[in-house]
Symmetry: D2
Subunit: 408 residues, 4 copies
């Protein structure tokens, strides 16, 4: 690690922090910096990022709209698994990092860079996610994580550095931001500072993507979502591209106060943290996907998915999207989705996503079998006795040996 890098590809947002990093890299290492700015649906214009990079003398500037790729190749595969980290979190930040890393590495190879850099801090999960992906994709890459290296360890020092180097500081950045935000097409997260006490709920001001349930309309909105092979393909019968579909779901969720989450979670780096998440479209999508699976998936297929899901979610949370174990679990999950086709009808109302109908040409639900009425021989009640008696046999044998009630 002795020598300085020659050329670094920086994940550059155009904001103050990564602008400082850009300059710091140039200063500290005397290296050329290549910027990469991606539109993952975070809701910011990318033009300024290009302009700022140019102003700081960057010659190779990559600005890319990756929204479709993000949703199609990352978000949708993850939703096939009904992934929830710790029972609640829809992994909105976690799922974006691998794509950014992947493009950074591709760009590094294209421009002949020998290093990559990111603006994630030293206590968070994102540094892990960026770097595990870097290393998995290009094992000899040099990784620079300024927040773990530099001396700009306080806001004051950072601002001083910015001023010293004529990096423009917008008025709102001059003061302390009350919390930090990450956003993409799937979600917005807020954490830190005023949000650090989990004993207190977040103020309304924290929320950026959603109306509060209270502020949402008093009348429910009904929609349908169509699925094909486990992925959503249409809303209200209108076929949409992946990013367009998620964008539309976000709008529907926002309007109806859907997808807020106030959570204390366990970071991979070993501490608990508190985050406020808004995942309006994703919350609707999870409910819809689960609903279509209930009629199209075999029981044991569904249970197997459920049993593997916590580990799948953990793997993604920990930054291991590009790992053998994720690929293997994805193979299992994808194998289950062939017949996950059909239409789900949902009612959106003040924070609630209520399934009010599901139908599919591939439905395994058969009302003739389940009915209380006579079913013309599809099911023989007598079979149940044998089924029960053999399932009970081991328990009976145990009880005969004095282990009553399943005692051990």
């Amino acid at each position: 690690m002795g020598k300085n890098p020659k050329k670094v590809v920086l994940a550059y947002s155009g904001g103050l922090d990564t602008s400082v990093i850009l300059r710091w890299l140039q200063e500290r290492y005397g290296c050329e910096v290549v910027t990469f700015t991606a539109d993952l649906g975070q809701g910011e214009e990318l033009g300024p990022a290009r302009a700022k990079a140019e102003a700081m003398g960057v010659r190779e500037i990559f600005v890319e709209d990756l929204r479709e790729k993000f949703v199609k190749d990352f978000v949708f595969p993850m939703f096939r698994a009904n992934a929830l980290y710790e029972g609640q979190y829809l992994l909105g930040t976690s799922i974006a990092r691998p794509l950014i890393s992947q493009r950074q590495i591709e760009i590094a190879e294209a421009v002949g860079a020998d290093a990559v850099a990111h603006g994630a801090t030293g206590k968070g999960n994102d540094q892990v996610r960026f770097e595990l992906a870097y290393y998995a994709l290009k094992p000899d890459i040099r990784v620079i994580a300024p927040w773990r290296e530099w001396e700009l360890t306080s806001r004051t020092k950072l601002l001083e550095f910015a001023e010293r180097h004529q990096i423009p500081i917008t008025r709102d950045k001059r003061g302390e931001a009350p919390f930090s935000v990450d956003a993409n097409l799937l979600h917005s997260s807020s954490e830190g500072k005023i949000l650090e006490d989990p004993a207190h709920g977040p103020d309304e001001i924290v929320f950026q993507r959603t109306l509060s349930p209270e502020a949402a309309p008093d009348v429910a909105t009904e929609i349908t979502i169509d699925f094909r092979h486990g992925d959503p393909v249409a809303i209200n019968g209108e076929a949409l591209s992946p990013a367009a579909l998620l964008t539309k779901l976000n709008a529907l969720g926002r309007a109806n106060g859907i997808g807020r989450l106030d959570m204390v979670e366990n970071r991979f780096v070993g501490m608990k943290s508190r985050g406020i998440y808004e995942t309006p479209g994703g919350t609707i999508l999870l409910a819809a996907h689960r609903a279509i699976e209930t009629i199209t998936l075999d029981r044991e297929a569904a249970h197997l998915k459920d049993s593997i899901m916590p580990r799948y979610a953990e793997v993604i949370y920990n930054g291991l999207w590009f790992s053998p174990e994720r690929h293997m679990m994805q193979a299992l999950i994808d194998a289950s989705q062939h017949s996950v086709n059909g239409r789900v009808r949902l009612k959106l109302y003040k924070g609630n996503v209520i399934c009010i109908g599901r139908e599919s040409p591939d439905s395994l639900y058969d009302s003739r079998v389940v009915t209380f009425e006579e079913d013309g021989g599809a099911y023989d009640h007598k079979d149940a006795q044998g089924f029960i008696r053999l399932n009970a046999l081991r328990l009976r044998l145990g009880a005969m040996k004095g282990r009553r009630g399943g005692a051990l």
Copy 2:
């Protein structure tokens, strides 16, 4: 199985169906019938059940209020696991069956009965749950399941039998009930008949335990729930017995439109079925328990619980409460709950249960460690580099061998 039973303990609700069963058992087997009627919070008076049993000549009649035992020894242990069947169902029916079975067997032993009987049908899960518990508790018990045996295979035949035997038929029973209901202190379920088409949402008339979110108040209700060793012990600071606490949560949930679920599930007997569930208090309790765990449980303890939960829920759903595997999983779960103490603050609003605060003397959340600010040495950012690099090592070694991006 050749000989007739001499004395049968019947799980007797006092309703038409089990009254017919009572008489049928007397007729078919010429045996004495002992009735057992339990108050599990289903919301019906038990006096009539006693009177009807007396009227049919039953000499040994057991009517018992088991609500406290039900909540304390069955519901609360299950909620320690955050159990959800197929990601959604709070197991309200499943968890009641083992207790009924247990008391039936105890009564059978007390009165010297050689058989037990229940009124569950031949296509459902409940027959399995009753009978697996019977056999686990008394392996040589004779089990009579009239719905699998008799010729009363249609509503008409059942009513004819009732009339022939002077069993009173209330007016509302004379016609076809539009769906069938099961209820206890944890939940109410509705299924069958008009609910059999999962493409259509349930009418408002189906719901018995909850206001609709639309009908719920426009102003949120805030409450606190206190936990001790994983179980709730107080609401708004008032200590309550288990049943009283769940009763109060039910009232709060009902008023705020909380706990409705419209679901297609997979039965143990092999078919899909559609159920409408109302679990107002349980839905609040699950959210609260998860919330208090987020600050008091170690990460790996929580993940281990999550990984085992689907199997735990399946075991209960399948009727295996009294089984070695449930006891073993319960030991794992209970071992985790010692420090699950503290207070959760919730906002209840039109179907939503929103956590707005959690605090605990046993909290593992440490804002000094997580803060973006300098933390006085509690965490060294430099450690993250080593952490990441060793976690990446296997991926790097794989990529060096040509398996980039975690390829296999």
Copy 3:
């Protein structure tokens, strides 16, 4: 089920029991019987089966050599998972049943039969395995299991029936066989009668496929096995077809006293049973496959496989080869095997299979990294400190809260 079947495809071994079944089917149902006899490597000639079927008037006789298909499409995929039921059993019987069932159903469809029949008894697993496969492949097939239906419930009655119908009884069948045997190219199993007491080890006479370790040569045999994508393809450098390869491994195992197992297992139908298994080639193959995986599989890929293996083995044991869950787990397993290539060197000696070398162009083992010597920067010892400290963080935070030693 009221009407008699018109045409039944019987899994016919040519032995006494299935010959009796053949005649019984003709008598009992007045139906045409089609016989299907497969060579799965059980080591019996199939000619007599054809002759006997002809003698009993069977017009459509199917005799097929399925050894290659058996090993290639059933045995090898299973060995990719390192499947062991209850930690020990290599599933030799379980894996053969689905193939027989599959061909029976194919034949039933080809000849226009409306039913299938098998000779498995009513207490065993094989009835389940046959029938679950039948139903999965042809849901409306009628299944006849004579052992559960007929009155020939004792050996004496069976022999009387045979004599009455001029079914030839070989001398050794006239007396009671001391135990029952199932065999195919993967294994031989013996159970029942004299083997029913698990307190006593089996006599040497029970073993059919293997020399005893004591009788095996005093000098070890060394071999190599080559793998490609997880499957064995050559022994001692000689490429062999799947069945030829397993045949050769069987000979090597037999000679060296390898692959005996005396086990008490838990049947799917709920009881414990005791079996004596001989799986000479399979035992060698498992050791070899595990060995090649140790150098070619990523750690988490291997651990994920290990974590899912018990369920995979259980699914096969229970007869669910043709099930969604088996297909899904197979997808996960197969996804892991692409780089499982290379050569394993083994020493076979008196019951032992000892790996004495493994090498692979896809090896992930890197002696430069692991060496105690200086490694030129491949690994920085300093990284270990951060790795340990962050892995310890949650434990330290717990201990600071009074939960020392990982207490809960």
Copy 4:
């Protein structure tokens, strides 16, 4: 971390490396060193360790025989789980580290030390195991790992340091050891240097605990082991303390060539390594424990244990004995062992451990049920039909929808 430690408790073997560490700690930090030397059955006299420590001016010297505690509180609980890391490794080194760490911390608290030190290297698992236990038991302890800190990065430098400080170097230490060894009552491991190429088997000279199978007697040795609540308590009917029992099993294993393992494993720190393990007594014990479980454990209890075992083993391998997750899994495992009582008969022969009998007053094996003969009504063959038909129902419903053979 700035200030020097005042008093360090060193895990001291008395060998060259830890003697150098002892002196280096005194030199580098000017601190007092307290030595702790434990007899875990490694087979070395501890007297010299005391003498050497005294010679180097150590005033507080702890030398303790921990063999009984090691086996009773660490080895036996682990064997209740049938723990195998990566399907093969009996965790002999892993299970010793937590005990050493625990005593070190207890001593540190007793003598008022502010730091602990160990002699494990920077690439191995042992550093992790020591330190995770330290931190879990005393979160504010200072940990010194000389191998990650010092400049003695080659053998030559180490020897120079020793000579410069008059640390005696035995003749055999002067040259390079051909491999490194760790030993305790459970096992001996050898790795490094000449063992680093996994393509070549180990020379006979590597083995220290076992005769080769070839050198073992030509006549088998038969023994019995008695179990109580899952732990072994007697050999050949003679009650023995835990350490005495394991010592005796080691002698039996050694003599019969049992317990050798040549393995490539995946370290927690991210690399593959190759180890040669000898676990003679443990190998016998695992076979015996599995055997007694086969007749005393319920099926689902056994399967649940099997499903959790890989994670349990991984947790121990990774050094997380003192963790919430290990305690939780131990609770599950221990809950299963109450009825694991009885006697196992084994034949030990040239590397083989062959079970030739198991019996128990708590046996769940019931020959009346399993027999092919008539069983007096314990089992009704007719029940099997219902059992199969309901287990098949979901597959049939799937097949009717075009998903034949369990297709998805």
